[in-house]
């Protein structure tokens, strides 16, 4: 008997594989590739459908358009992670596992976070390859947003890395919202609706400044990282804005993960230690 199959690592890998090979992932990624292909190789497509930032197609795609595809992937693929099991009556299986439901739930959360990392990385790599072969390849050593009055000085390469990190923090927050909603509901539609609602209203607060606080601490400030480099009335230095916004969302993410995992602890039956010795 292969004991590796019962390990936490195996659980995590299985869950991650299930997410990555989900048809939703494939279709959304394919849709993004088609979009990015059009953006990189068709001027007509760019003129009609896009607003190019600073003449940099790579930065435009990763800062303005890719987040929406990643959000769609989170809503479609991660929503059923707990709720789907409950709907199909599979959630009780966790109780029969060697490590119990808690470990099973932890693995799902880890897999979801890794899945976002994989998707985000894949998006960046594919976009980079396509933009390298386009007529306007990215210039890694050039200073980013030279025209702006940003207090942060960095090269394009540093900005791309910075964008990746901020977007990952933003996407982790969205993932943790969806996970928390999924763990508390028995229909996958509910986490999808909750996530879609959040994205919709965050987008509305990002477009129109109804309240400076809601605009500053907005999910789209992380998902569109170029916007955070511009000084605002609340944060005169972009560095302060980055620290404040990113740390706030990280705290919320941690809180939501706790909420997600806490549900499992309550439902879990008392551990029977002697079973492991048998």
């Amino acid at each position: 008997m292969n004991n590796k199959r019962g390990s936490r690592g195996y659980l995590l890998r299985t869950q991650l594989r299930a997410l990555v090979t989900d048809r939703g992932t494939l279709y959304i990624f394919l849709a993004y590739i088609v979009f990015a292909f059009g953006a990189c190789f068709s001027g007509n497509f760019r003129d009609t459908w896009m607003k190019v930032i600073n003449g940099d197609i790579f930065a435009t795609l990763t800062n303005l358009y890719m987040p929406f595809f990643l959000m769609a992937a989170i809503l479609l693929v991660i929503s059923p992670i707990f709720a789907g099991d409950k709907k199909s009556g599979m959630e009780e299986i966790g109780d029969t596992c060697f490590y119990g439901k808690h470990a099973w739930k932890v693995c799902k959360v880890q897999a979801a976070f890794l899945y976002i990392f994989v998707m985000c990385s894949a998006g960046y790599v594919f976009t980079l390859f396509m933009s390298l072969f386009s007529k306007t390849p990215p210039n890694f050593t050039q200073r980013v947003f030279e025209f702006g009055n940003s207090g942060v000085v960095m090269t394009n390469a540093q900005f791309y890395l910075f964008s990746f990190v901020l977007q990952y923090i933003g996407l982790l927050f969205l993932t943790s919202i969806v996970l928390a909603a999924s763990s508390k509901s028995d229909d996958p539609i509910i986490p999808l609706a909750v996530g879609a609602c959040l994205c919709g209203f965050e987008l509305a607060f990002d477009f129109v400044v109804f309240s400076p606080i809601l605009w500053e601490f907005n999910l789209f400030r992380l998902l569109k990282p170029f916007t955070i480099l511009v000084p605002t009335t609340l944060f005169t230095s972009p560095l302060k804005a980055i620290l404040a916004v990113a740390s706030t969302f990280m705290v919320f993410t941690a809180l939501l993960v706790w909420v997600t995992l806490n549900g499992a602890l309550k439902e879990e039956p008392k551990p029977q230690l002697d079973l492991a010795q048998h």
Binding site: G24, T48, W49, A72, L75, L76, S79, P80, G84, K87, S88, S185, D187, P188, I189, I190, L192, A193, V194, A196, C197, G200, F201, A204, V208, F210, S211
Partner: protein
């Protein structure tokens, strides 16, 4: 209870639909109520409404028209004050010394009154110039259409009625909210049946699935209509609270949103069209969502795909919304379900699509396209849902 009632009860008994609808409504209310304390909302138009007729008379006064035109449509209140009714100045004087959020109310109102007069003069001059140009222009379908519309326009009025805000209700956000709630409620109508294996059991019943199909369709349409009514009433109440009811009807071409658009409608007529469009659009969306639900095993995928269908139309429509001529590139957005639910772009801008020697109003094309989508969706839905039906 008949089958329609049972199906309707099944849809409305989903608690999460109402909880999310409530959250969405609260967020929407928060967004709208945020405008309530704006200077423009409290003072600009409200304070000048009592002198609406005087402002209109001033804009149609030949002496004022000549002066404003000579000054290049950029005049101050003090410059035109001797030529206009003293009642306007008296009304503004009531606010003398009043300051709101750093704004000198009387000063702002003077600027607003001058702006309303010069804007009205400018519009009339531009339209007269356009008519003159069109009369001497080559006989093309577009020129004929513009000449017809411009010469049959109602008399333009000062934009002080609040119809700008009321027509804005259905521009983007409310159609999106209504679509979201409708899709949330009905995306699982068939998918949930597949998930619970009920669709197989139904084959053993006397009437099979065919009879159930029409009842499900009717119940879903009823739910969509109910959602539209609830949200339209809610939005109307919010707008009444924030902006107040428009104190009179006005031609659509008087509104800033539709500056120089060849629209001959009245604002109330247009708003009623928007309400009807919202209802019809929600019903078409219901048919499409049911069709998608009938071939999806999961309600999640059904909701996602229906959402993508609606979102694509919204994005397309908002990408090409400028102007009054439809092109092959802009048509997919203009014929979309979102476009029917909003109507601001196709009907408000009085868009036309040129085919051969005639200019067809795009709004008519939208209605025809949506009727076709509705029929095709129902046929496909019927096929997907009943194709495993066994004969008696």
């Amino acid at each position: 209870m008949n089958l329609v009632g049972t199906e309707f009860k099944k849809i409305v008994s989903k608690k999460y639909v109402w909880i999310i609808a409530l959250l969405v409504a609260l967020a929407y209310a928060y967004l709208i109520l945020n405008f309530a304390n704006n200077f423009n909302v409290i003072y600009t138009k409200n304070a000048l409404q009592p002198v609406f007729q005087e402002i209109m008379d001033a804009a149609y006064n030949p002496q004022v028209q000549e002066y404003v035109t000579k000054k290049g449509f950029n005049v101050t209140f003090e410059e035109i004050q001797p030529m206009i009714s003293p009642k306007i100045a008296e009304t503004i004087e009531q606010y003398q010394g009043k300051v709101y959020e750093g704004y000198d109310v009387a000063k702002e109102l003077k600027e607003e009154a001058a702006l309303r007069i010069e804007s009205l003069v400018e519009r009339n001059v531009r339209i007269s110039e356009s008519i003159e140009e069109l009369e001497n222009a080559p006989d093309t379908p577009l020129n004929r259409y513009f000449l017809q519309q411009y010469t049959h326009m109602p008399k333009i009025e000062p934009n002080l009625t609040r119809w700008d805000n009321w027509i804005d209700i259905n521009k983007t956000m409310l159609p999106l909210i209504i679509a979201f709630v409708v899709l949330l409620g009905i995306s699982g109508v068939y998918s949930d049946e597949y998930a619970s294996k009920m669709h197989g059991i139904l084959l053993t019943t006397k009437n099979g699935r065919s009879k159930l199909f029409w009842n499900k369709l009717l119940a879903s349409c009823l739910f969509a209509a109910m959602t539209v009514i609830i949200f339209q009433v809610f939005a109307a109440l919010l707008y009444t609270h924030v902006y107040g009811l428009p104190f009179k009807n006005t031609p659509v071409n008087s509104l800033t949103t539709f500056y120089m658009m060849p629209n001959t409608m009245w604002a109330l007529q247009f708003y009623v069209c928007q309400l009807i469009g919202s209802l019809l659009g929600a019903i078409v969306l219901t048919a499409v969502a049911l069709c998608i639900s009938s071939f999806c095993r999961s309600s999640l995928v059904s909701l996602f795909l229906s959402g993508v269908y609606f979102a694509l139309g919204t994005i397309w429509s908002n990408t090409f919304e400028v102007g009054f001529i439809s092109s092959f590139a802009s048509l997919p957005g203009e014929l979309s379900t979102f476009s029917l639910m909003s109507l601001t772009d196709v009907l408000g801008n009085a868009k036309v699509f040129i085919v051969g020697n005639s200019a067809i109003p795009t709004a008519k094309l939208t209605i025809v396209a949506q009727a076709i989508i509705f029929i095709v969706a129902i046929i496909l839905n019927y096929f997907f849902y009943t194709h495993k039906e066994m004969g008696a």
